[in-house]
Symmetry: D2
Subunit: 386 residues, 4 copies
């Protein structure tokens, strides 16, 4: 297994560097809003994880690349010491991007050497976690890059395409019977602590759409005045869209009456057959209210997911992000990974076009604050009972 | 039943006026923070409910007391038209308090006359809802009065006592077996729409405390440095207590090394045998983390509540406020009552010393944002599995 | 002179109480914005001045009415100790208005007794300053009352009228020759420290209007798009009117195409022949830019003021509030009266309809931040040289 | 003169490029606070000035380098059209730094060709203004670079030194007689419009220091508790230093009891013999209050400046930035240069070590908001009369 871990390490770390190739040096250091991190920071922070939790404690001959980096690139682990305030990350012009790539190379070289040695199981787990952590950041990195470039007045073109598949023009609904179902991760591979606590949940019968809502359907909601009628919205959702003057999904632009959408390929005419993405929980919920449907709970989603295709966009559920019965957080800094975020966020299930291959499973619990929209998020409705 | 409704109307409306007696005119109009409403506003808004939803549509000969009042005292019903921004309520010096009491008398007189007539069932329901609405405001009114007076530099004395009972020095834990339980309201009396959708929930075995956490126990948490160790807190809870420099429950004051607590009777020495109250969800959760326990879910609470005493303080659960399966919101303005708040709030169960008699039942779902502390809120822990 | 000081004391203190008569208790305690103080606070603070600076140090048998009041009603004298934050004054419901009037009566009684004794000259000066201080607050009190009531949705009627005189339909310009002029107070009566430092200023020839700009003229500026053209505005003025969406003077309301103005008599049709009032420095300056004129400096105003009528509204000058040559601030708390405000404010000269009789002279220097508009402020232009 | 203008053009433009050499690409794009502009922006904006005001209107064969740049790099000229909000400049990752240098080269090449032709006087004036504009930005550029690097956790070293001269250990005071003096620019060279309006000012006798206040003297003020005593401060200054927890000049750091100062050479031990710099107007004023002195007016400074050395640091005066008598702003966009900033700012006189050679004269009026400290600003006191 050490061999295979080494291979995984190599693949994940390379994938990140590969994704950076179309960027310019200037793109790496900005932070346009709080929830976006500068790309440079992702590159360094994921590297710091391996240095801090693997090399420093477990490879005696390792010496830190730069002792300041622990301070500069710790994201949120309070237990590990002082850290740069999230909102100030975009002001760090030093170290340079080149230096950060050197840092990656330095840590990678030592990690690969370390992986050649006899790694105890406990450290293998930390490395596996570090890779999953890096894969998560690789996905966030894509959201952030899209946000940074999509908010340039010049709408630059970066990659070839975002590769979302067309949805069918006719949606079907899958019926799931009522009953007591098993929820959570119950196999031998990797999973996060928040998926553990395999447990039973009773579900009433429900019927769930076999595909995501399309841009075409969502546009009908807009054209029906959906953003102007308080009756479809949570009170806080209504305040949110009014405060920020939100009238459509993020990256949509109506220019001389024609709808466009910013993609990583540049500004494109809106393709009505693609799933609607870049919407907040509030918008997903309001769309369902308008269309007489509702969002699934995360348990309904997990149970039904064996019967439909998913993986294009994270699917908002109407479940708050909370611990499963018997949830246990890990000891020490690693224990800060998930549990301390279990308030004020909603669960999304599935995966997206930006998700690293193999970084998805039906029990995977993603979560975001209900107003966020810069990730690839979509809607899969459930029929309401009459 | 019309007769009994009239009696209920009389009792509830009078209880409010009775509670006002110790106030001074100046106490009625201020709004020290967003979540507190001026007492005058509660008096008028609850009256407006009956005028707007009963007298205007159903009593043809009724003429409005003052046409401006609909604008001034609508709280949040978007469907009913423009309203004064919540944050500006504390600036309304006119109408005077005396005028608001006239308004109450005017509406009461017409309501009592109306209740002598033959009231159709649908309108009876609205009146019953209006009374429950008023009872809720009567409770909020007490929180707000306490906040307003408890933040005067002079700590005025208002009522005789808040009447919380002592907790026992030895807590016991009640064991509930795993199984499929029924949740929600399933009888013929009044309940809110958020309790409907009677449904099954599977619970694992758990052991729940037979009483609330005492000031004495909570003080140990403080003295153990609980407010200074990030490991016990949600990330957002940690930010919250640091931003507002929170070091103890609301209304606690340490003066020359001695702990005091503001009560409606004035500033008192902290009584260690009373339940700890005026804490946020974040504090309740952190206390449990520190003591190796956890908060119940609202379902665990509801199932277990038949076996312990409750009613002193609202009990924080670790359940987010979300709709039950098959939740249906009412048509029109009344439908804005509950559903649109089902995001970003946590459920509290039970009742408090400020709750109107008969305004409580095991299925009752109260809810507040996790940082709020000005209500009577407490902690009932569950043992963690080893 | 002690006798006459007693008479002055009596007159000023009574004038304040007289002005309170049309208020309701509720009007006294609110603070809608930072720059408005609750009326109750004015009543107590002016009283505290005499208690703190006269009775406590100079009348041995005097005992304080309430020892908390020093903390509650100190406005800004850092040297005198802790004080309630300005922005929290509107939350003090206790002491009651009735108690504050008792406080006034208590202090007045002792002051009058004190004034019957042999008062040394130095203390006479402090009392005289206290009366001027009270007269200033009496004027601010009127601005604040107008703001509080003018921002009620119901526009209440309070006094009979604000008594501004009509301006003539044809303005004349008075020519003042260039030369070296004397500026500042140079007689034996009372003046503030900021008027001392009698000194010479060289002025170029100028021509100044013999009356204030009328509502009619100002309306032309509005109708010419004055609020939409950046070229007339200071950069910070332009930002200010855009941030707060300002399109006309404070208290003007355009209802169905007709202009109204809130006055202390209630909402009135705009009278075109009255001087324009309730404008910021930015608006005064922009009006002048638009009309090809300019504002006077405070020195030009002082020199020319002997030749025109003034006293309707404070007249914005283009002078910043700065010390005169050889300005000396007093020792101790009294020294905080003026000097520490000499930055970021503009000078206004003259007096207004709210100014206490005898509280005005040509050398009087009033000052406000350039964005403020709730005082009676107007415009007297100077011709620009071609 | 066209020849000499070409030479000036060449020198100024090259000086900017020269100053950029030690920067890394990452340093160019950040904007840590509102008042700092990203270095890239300075480079492009100064170039845009020549393109917009010279090449586009006066060189028929010229075609714009990129039509988006007018939008991206207009700073504040409302008359010239839409512009990127000041606070968003730090988010522009595109165009790249390399592209901006291409833009400079493109415009320089055309400007030099244009300067070879017969340039009419009016356009010569605009070019001269453009060069002075560029020299101002070159100075701001140095402040901004220092701010960006001085706020990196790693305190990078950039240039050799900032070259401030030692002050003498014994200060002398120069006496200036009272009298009527001439103020403003009255020669044939270049000056800004704010220096015109040559006019007389009467001054009382005064005595002004022959050198700037040293770090040593300023440290005494700190050690005497100057930052903790409200009596030395303007009310707004006191609020400012408390809100931002300011205890010393910008770039001073006390580490283990020893004072250091960040300079462009890196973190250095504080040199007590250098003039104190990087202080706000509030600090300059408070220092004078503490030491029983005062700041000069800008007129006193201008009259006395012929008798002392200056040019190390801009010297705060106690004069607000206001128009001289008969000040006339230019027509069109150029007219936005100075006049619209004449409110809420204080005048500084002299020049600093970052000022371009030849960009200084005794009549030069620099101006900043009173709280700003990131420029090279110092203190030259005047004795107070006894």
């Amino acid at each position: 297994m050490t061999l295979s871990l080494k291979k995984q390490f190599h693949n994940t770390r390379n994938a990140f560097v590969e994704k950076c190739k179309p960027l310019q040096v200037e793109d790496y250091s900005v932070q346009p809003v709080d929830f976006v991190s500068p790309p440079k920071w992702h590159l360094a922070h994921t590297t710091w994880f391996f240095e801090q939790f693997v090399l420093v404690p477990h490879m005696p001959e390792y010496s830190c690349f730069d002792k300041d980096f622990a301070f500069l690139f710790n994201s949120y682990y309070e237990a590990v010491g002082e850290r740069v305030m999230r909102a100030n990350r975009g002001l760090m012009t030093r170290p340079s991007v080149a230096k950060v790539f050197e840092y990656r190379a330095h840590v990678d070289e030592h990690m690969l050497r370390f992986l050649d040695s006899d790694v105890v199981l406990e450290v293998q787990s930390i490395i596996a976690l570090g890779l999953k952590h890096e894969q998560q950041h690789l996905e966030l990195f894509q959201y952030d890059i899209k946000y940074i470039l999509g908010h340039q007045p010049t709408f630059p073109h970066l990659y070839q395409d975002e590769n979302l598949k067309d949805v069918s023009t006719s949606v079907e609904f899958l019926k799931i019977e009522q009953g007591l179902y098993d929820i959570g991760y119950n196999a031998n591979g990797f999973c996060f602590d928040n998926e553990l606590g395999y447990h039973k949940v009773w579900l009433e019968e429900f019927q769930i759409a076999n595909q995501l809502v399309s841009n075409k359907s969502y546009l009908k909601f807009i054209e029906a005045g959906g953003y102007n009628k308080s009756e479809y919205w949570h009170a806080e959702g209504w305040d949110f869209i009014n405060e920020f003057n939100i009238k459509c999904p993020m990256y949509w632009h109506q220019i001389d009456g024609v709808w466009f959408q910013y993609t990583l390929k540049g500004l494109q005419k809106l393709n009505l057959n693609k799933p609607v993405i870049h919407i907040s929980f509030y918008e997903a919920w309001a769309y369902c209210e308008w269309s007489g449907q509702r969002l699934p709970t995360e348990f309904e989603w997990e149970v039904a997911s064996f019967d439909f295709n998913w993986g294009e966009a994270w699917e908002w559920t109407n479940s708050a992000y909370l611990p499963y019965p018997n949830y246990k957080k890990e000891e020490g800094a690693i224990g800060e990974y998930n549990g301390k975020f279990m308030v004020n966020q909603m669960v999304l299930r599935g995966a997206s076009v930006a998700t690293f291959e193999e970084h998805s499973r039906p029990s995977y619990r993603n979560f975001f604050h209900p107003q966020l929209r810069w990730m690839y998020s979509g809607i899969r409705p459930i029929k309401k009972h009459e």
